[in-house]
């Protein structure tokens, strides 16, 4: 962070919350990107993601009980896919944090947190549907918005739409 910059109250609280997580998991997570619009950190050791999630939800000083959003993202330059989760502690604390988890582009997988927050269930299905990463431990990982026999993953940057779907011309 730049010196002399005024830090908002909510960002300070988010940074405090981050330090509790960092204390426990150390090098498994990256440093906090303390920007004003969306403070976030990245999970480096993805195998610990479910544990981190449980810790974030249940620690008495964190209580991230509300997953606002889970976004799938494609990073073609890094050859990676990822998810971004926005958490907050509804009605308990003011801190907000976003968490990024990345995996390799081809056949990558991320541990599922559907057992931690129910919200993640459908959102992970949507991320799988649109980007094609799998979520290990998800109760029923199948497509949600596209038909089951759709080819390809539409939100990948290099997606090419299929010509025919059951004899119907697809590109218009």
């Amino acid at each position: 962070m730049e010196e002399g910059k005024v830090i908002s109250q909510s960002l300070q609280e988010s940074a405090a919350a981050y330090s509790i997580i960092h204390e426990k998991f150390g090098s498994a997570i990256s440093a906090l990107d303390a920007n004003e619009t969306m403070p976030f950190f990245e999970v480096i050791d993805t195998s610990q993601w479910t544990e981190i999630a449980l810790f974030m939800r249940d620690h008495p000083k964190l209580k991230f009980n509300y997953m606002a959003c889970l976004t799938g993202v494609d990073y073609p330059a890094e050859e990676k896919l990822g998810i971004i989760c926005n958490f907050e502690s509804l009605a308990l604390f003011n801190h907000k944090l976003a968490v990024k988890v990345k995996c390799v582009r081809d056949g990558g997988s991320i541990p599922s947190v559907a057992c931690v927050w129910h919200t993640a269930n459908w959102h992970e299905r949507e991320a799988y549907d649109m980007f094609g990463m799998t979520f290990t431990g998800h109760p029923e990982l199948r497509r949600i918005l596209c038909p089951d026999d759709w080819e390809g993953y539409p939100l990948r940057k290099d997606y090419k739409v299929q010509d025919q779907y059951h004899g119907i011309k697809v590109p218009y």
Binding site: M38, N65, A68, C69, I84, A91, H118, C146
Partner: protein
Amino acid sequence: MQELDTAGLGSVRVTRQSDTVVILEKDLATEQMVLAMGPQHPSTHGVLKLECLTDGEVITQAEPYLGYLHRCFEKCCENVDYPAVVPYTDRLDYLAGMNSEFAYAITVEKLLDIEIPRRVEFIRVIVAELNRIASHLVAIGTYGIDLGAFTPFLFCFRDREIILGLLEWASGARMLYNYIWVGGLAYDVPADFLKRVKEFVNYFRPKTVELCELLTKNEIFVKRTLGIGIMPADVAINYGWSGPMLRGSGVKWDLRRNDPYSIYPELDFKVPVPDGKDSVIGDCLSRHLVRAWEMDESLKIIEQCIDKIPSAEGFNPRSAIPKRIRPKAGEVYGRAENPRGELGFYIESDGKSTKPVRCKARSSCFVNLSAMKDLSKGQLIPDLVAIIGSIDIVLGEVDR
């Protein structure tokens, strides 16, 4: 009591009426039946398929199948400039277009870091609250229809028509407005608009009482909704519920209060939550009541805005709109309180392009609907209709 020959019937459950014994149930072999509700079913409020596993009248499992209206809103966003996304947001929740535009506009403005003229903020709040009332009128009216009450629907649509007329006057369209732009508005409101809005507020206030007497206190309606589909507060939070659904479970959480945006901190309004006197907290009736109460609060907000709004003198609704919208590199998650809950946008900008790298819409109905499986377990088929109606889904937003 006469002896009943039950040979060949298996065990029976009987009752006695005066002297004769009546067979209520014979122990016939039962089996689970798959019952598909939808995709074309009036009570699903759009194209949603519910595949129900039923044991007699009881639903053992209901699995929602969605995507019939999917048009990949997010891919469209990646291919157009920031201002051109606004018309697409209208088509998310087409019953509350103004609110969707509002949510998108404030999200991009967070990245842009620009000052919005105060009059713009007031007009935005007025049209958004008008749209909220219109949307709740549809929710309440169609909920009545779901449960067999036809008249309230007509009353609701009569009043909604006035709001749509007002919004059409301001923006030129009845439902898909493209009115709230990033950094400003398409136009200032017409002369006399605020006067007409005030007239509407005065006209509509007694109508909410009338609607309440017609539907909310209707015994048949209450019997169909009271104690049905109860969702405890902690589970609701874990499911990510928001808006009237969450408040129906007794959680006092409203983004206009708890994560304030625009001019909401200056305005005086209550966040209504059920107190457990008229309804069981977390049931279908609570969710309905919250919507009904919210209309009154919206009227309050509109009245205050009309009193406080700065004059139109020298006002240009497009003065703060940048010539070229190219936000600094970064990510933002912005959200607003929509009639159906939290509509959030995650936007990633690379700082070079005039198009978003990634634009994700976090749809409130999508998240609220995901609890359907839990809510419907063990319910009767007619109650399933009551539950879907109380979630108040708009499939345009669920499928995006």
